[in-house]
Amino acid sequence: MAANDSFRPASPGSTAKPRAAGRGRSAVSEADDPSSLVVRFGPDKPLRLDSGVQLPELQIAYQTYGELNADRSNAILVCHALTGDQHVASLSPVTGKPGWWSDMVGSGKPIDTDRYFVICSNVVGGCLGTTGPASTNPTTDRVYGLDLPVITVRDMVRAQAMLIDHLGIDQLFCVAGGSLGGMQVLQWAVSYPERVFSAVPIATGARHSSQNIAFHEVGRQAIMADPDWRGGRYFDYGVSPRKGLAVARMAAHITYLSDEALHRKFGRNLQDRDTPTFGFDADFQIESYLRHQGVAFVERFDANSYLYMTRAMDYFDVAAQHGGRLANAFLGTKTRFCVVSFTSDWLFPTSENKAVVRALNAAGASVSFVEIETDRGHDAFLLDEPEMFATIRGFLSSAGEARGLR
């Protein structure tokens, strides 16, 4: 390729034009026809899944920001969490809200789109345009629903590698993400060590704990107990398990916060009333807040996708992929790691993050680790946390020097 600063897709024919994000697109229409870049892979490049099945056709919806440099060495892949999407730093086409990590990614931000070419794709099993249970199954021409094979984090990463190949990038300068996104970061470093120059796993772990699986199971049971779930084929009946999905979200949302933060924000304050009603209305502000979170969530997320995404996290266990010893997963790695945890995160507590750090040390890897003091719980990674920003900015700039980025 001629010396050219700007990015050109490797095969432009298969890349659809991005549609301007317009507010109010439904999650259903985004599943097949997303408001972002799209690449489609046919049966000549099937996605091999951990379950043993192959996906003969795969669609990946993604966004890019900034420009790929001439030697294609400044690409950062951002991996999204459980209910995130590819719109990391641009308006969501469904909610019209700013991108989920727009504090972190953008011009002059720690992941600086003036310096780096940032890629974020919707994961396989998601519902914003990458093949998932809400997508149309090309072999039946009906919505997949539960006919989609179960997806693992390694499957998600395998699909992302196909996208990175498609973009003509050999080595990513960095792979970064929190929670499920952090799991993908770790999987990238394990599956494709030579393709990851640096890695920033945040608020994550090398496996999903028993307690976390338990919370996910509560969420899934809430969805499946909703009569409108209809065995996973609700779309055939023009309904949706809204109540079940909202309850799942409410339960999960508690795990993203902390007792201190809830007390700070809501305490035992009553909602628009001076005394309890002696009924089961949302008397307390925290109840009202959670109900709002649940109701808002069902507008933007597919219930079956929630089942698939939570399952992928449950199955994640890097050590199990490597004879039960986590350090073996990282032997010989040249990737530079920067692990970040938060003091009040009880979903992925510091101990889980530190287990990764320990294994990296044991493998002789280059690793930095910072525990950020905050009361905002697991969600802190999505929020304005200056210490986290300073850490990641410093880490990326020194990694950039080592990589020869200007």
Partner: protein, 210 residues
């Protein structure tokens, strides 16, 4: 075994750090335990071209290090060294931290396991000023090198230079070099007359191997 002339570029004026860096072979792999804000690691990267790693217990110190581009993990010398592989480093350094550990002997043993060479620097509790404070004034010493009161000091395991030599014997470590930093700090002198320096040395630096 001569006095270590300090000739490294002065990116720091802390004489103990300059003296330690003079012991480190250029291009080696270094683990700095209790690396603080990364001053020594930065000095070693700049003047010795080392592949450096650090452990630091305070979040503030770790954040400063990472923001300066150093590979540093938040951790504790007493509990976290066990995670490092045998012979993982050419040099393992413990600068002014030994006296703050719960288990100094285990820490030194772990260091000897992890590193081919070990550098330890510590304040000499046998110094005459310390002895005078306790012996004549009957008070726990508060000196320039040991500025804490007894109730708020992080230093819980003081030793004298002779005590440390005893520890080296106990764990089977060979002392390759040892010297004291002179007050004022222009030069360092090798420890030949042990009893003399045990009384007059303020800070000691030891280079050990298994």
């Amino acid at each position: 075994m001569n006095a270590h002339a300090i000739s490294v570029a002065p990116t720091t004026n802390r004489v103990d750090l300059l003296a330690i860096s003079a012991l480190v072979t250029p291009g080696s792999r270094v683990l700095d335990i209790g690396c603080g804000d990364g001053q020594l690691l930065k000095l070693l990267e700049a003047t010795r071209n080392v592949d450096g790693r650090g452990i630091e217990i305070s979040q503030k110190g770790v954040n400063e290090c990472v923001a300066r581009g150093l590979s540093v993990v938040q951790g504790d010398a007493d509990s976290d060294l066990i995670d490092y592989p045998d012979d993982g480093f050419d040099f393992v350094i413990l600068s002014q931290t030994l006296q703050a550990t719960y288990h100094p002997r285990e820490v030194v043993e772990q260091m000897l396991r992890i590193g081919r060479k070990v550098i330890v620097s510590f304040p000499n509790f046998g110094n005459w000023r310390v002895r005078a404070a306790l012996g004549f004034r009957g008070r726990m010493p508060v000196t320039k090198d040991l500025p804490y009161s007894w109730y708020d000091t992080p230093n819980i395991h003081f030793c004298t230079i002779r005590d440390f030599v005893g520890l080296c014997d106990d764990v089977g470590a060979t002392v390759e070099k040892s010297f004291v930093l002179r007050r004022g700090g222009e030069t360092s002198l090798p420890i030949r007359a042990l009893r003399f320096w045990n009384l007059f040395g303020q800070q000691a630096v030891f280079l050990l191997r298994r």
